[in-house]
Symmetry: C2
Subunit: 312 residues, 2 copies
């Protein structure tokens, strides 16, 4: 059987036809930023799906899953005024696709989609309790409790990127101080690098400091640069506090990390595992796996979205 | 219909016959510390239950619920070597009572029992997602997700007393630093008071400082003493960070507090509600109730235990 996974980003909308063994058979791509009206956007998504089905003679779908920023799983809509989307009205994509294809459609936020992708196709297969942390421009999270996504009272659970780890720490875009997002997002890691650079006494220009990217810090760390390593050490330390606190909440079987900053590999994972074990409450020491997502490459987001529609 | 609630403390074991409207009809008490063997302890609990049933001609029970320190809901046992219990072997109370009375028996830790008590008989009636924080010698928590207690992978979820709020803060008995327990338990509140006293410049003797109790701090705060009020302000501030982080995890409908320190009333609740709203992520502001347990007095623990056995 087949399902459709749709990964909606600010730049592109990626659609995939997914076989239930987790293979992405075929793809379509729309330019999200080309649209400013929900109606046209929905119509083009509908015909992109139709093309995928027609090309492969697929006549029945298990379902359609959509991962989207600000995706509301209760209404199947992308909320109005979502940051970075040109379409400013609410996008009722769930119901529209349900009517067009007569199949189950599940829409959820991208971190929740990532968590389900890991459970259905990745390293969390068979797990009933785990946490997925998505590191990127921000830090997001999808939490699985007893085999189901944790949604909370109004669908807003799982904002672990805004767990406060340093009450008088860096100012966060949310208006508070010391959220883990300020230390472990791509921008946070750059900030850790710049602070380590300043503390090192190494000569740099303001231009160089402004050009720092997370990818550069990762590559420098893996090339052995002590300043970049120090930056990941700081990232890992603060992240370990947030993860130790999350562990004390739900006692997950595992915590997974994915997203751009994980491309640093061992430069991040090795200090993180060390600090995590140190900072875990004794009850949990040695009992909670901490690893990167086993889903890598371009298919991750499509698989995550497709997983939303899978039978659990 | 009736159920039996058993609240096991280090000093006393309180048993209650509970009608399903939440009235405790009758009680029995054993001196926990009198026992050093599980076998005798179980035998005396069994006959205390029998007496309650006989006195009221009760021939059928909905179930038996037991709240106990270190209660393992998976095995129905109180773990071996539980701190403060004289009986050092494992106590297989669940199975013993199941066999003796032919009814469902649920044993769980005391904070989980308190959470269920609130859900079945108290202010959380009808709620599907909430958190109960128990303030006392330590800080415990019971977490309800989707109408069920959150137990985690091995039954050790919900250790919110050991959420780290101040990574370089006070040394905790768990071996780490800055757990909320060090700021919001009875001992933590006394410490907040002593620090406020020292900062105030008020003259005190070491004897006076050593004699400080949480009850004294509460009474002083309610009598208007600015030093005691400052102590609760500090308690409330740190607690608000832990609760804001817990909110970002599960987006509960409400957070309840119970236990000795809540007897301070508004001296704790008023600054806590203020800081909590301030420190909540914007998504949740104004949407999460923060209140004291509506169950008060001697029946709370028995009702909590009885609730464990109630149909949910």
């Amino acid at each position: 059987m087949y399902s459709i996974g749709i990964d909606i980003g600010a730049t592109n909308t990626d659609l995939g036809l997914v076989r239930n063994d987790g293979t992405v058979i075929d793809r379509e791509r729309l330019s999200t930023q080309q649209y400013d009206k929900a109606e046209n956007y929905i119509a083009d998504i509908t015909s992109a799906i139709q093309q995928l089905l027609t090309r492969h003679d697929v006549t029945a779908l298990d379902g359609i899953g959509i991962g989207a920023p600000n995706g509301n799983h209760l209404t199947g809509c992308i909320e109005a005024n979502t940051a970075n989307l040109r379409i400013k009205e609410q996008i009722p994509l769930g119901r529209a696709l349900e009517e067009a294809f007569g199949t189950r459609v599940r829409l959820d936020n991208d971190a929740n989609a990532a968590a389900l992708g890991e459970m259905v196709y990745g390293g969390a297969k068979g797990m009933r309790n785990f946490i997925m942390l998505t590191l990127g421009t921000g830090v997001g999270s999808g939490i699985v409790i007893d085999g189901k996504l944790l949604h909370g009272t109004h669908g807003a659970a799982g904002e672990l990127g805004h767990a406060i780890v340093s009450p008088n720490g860096r100012a966060c875009s949310c208006g508070r101080k010391g959220c883990i997002e300020m230390y472990a997002s791509a921008r946070g890691i750059c900030q850790n690098y710049i602070e380590a650079l300043e503390a090192s006494g190494r000569n740099t220009t303001e231009e160089e400091r402004e050009a720092v990217t997370c990818q550069f810090v990762g590559e420098s760390a893996n090339a052995g640069d002590p300043v970049a390593r120090k930056a990941y050490d700081t990232t890992a330390y603060w992240l370990s506090i947030a993860l130790a606190n999350a562990a004390a909440f739900s006692e997950p079987e595992a915590i997974f990390l994915m997203g751009g900053p994980t491309r640093a590999g061992e430069a991040l994972l090795s200090p993180l595992q060390k600090y995590f074990e140190e900072n875990l409450l004794f009850l949990y020491k040695g009992k909670i796996k901490l690893q990167f997502s086993t889903l890598t490459g371009n298919d991750t987001a499509i698989l995550g979205a497709a997983a939303l529609s899978a039978e659990l």
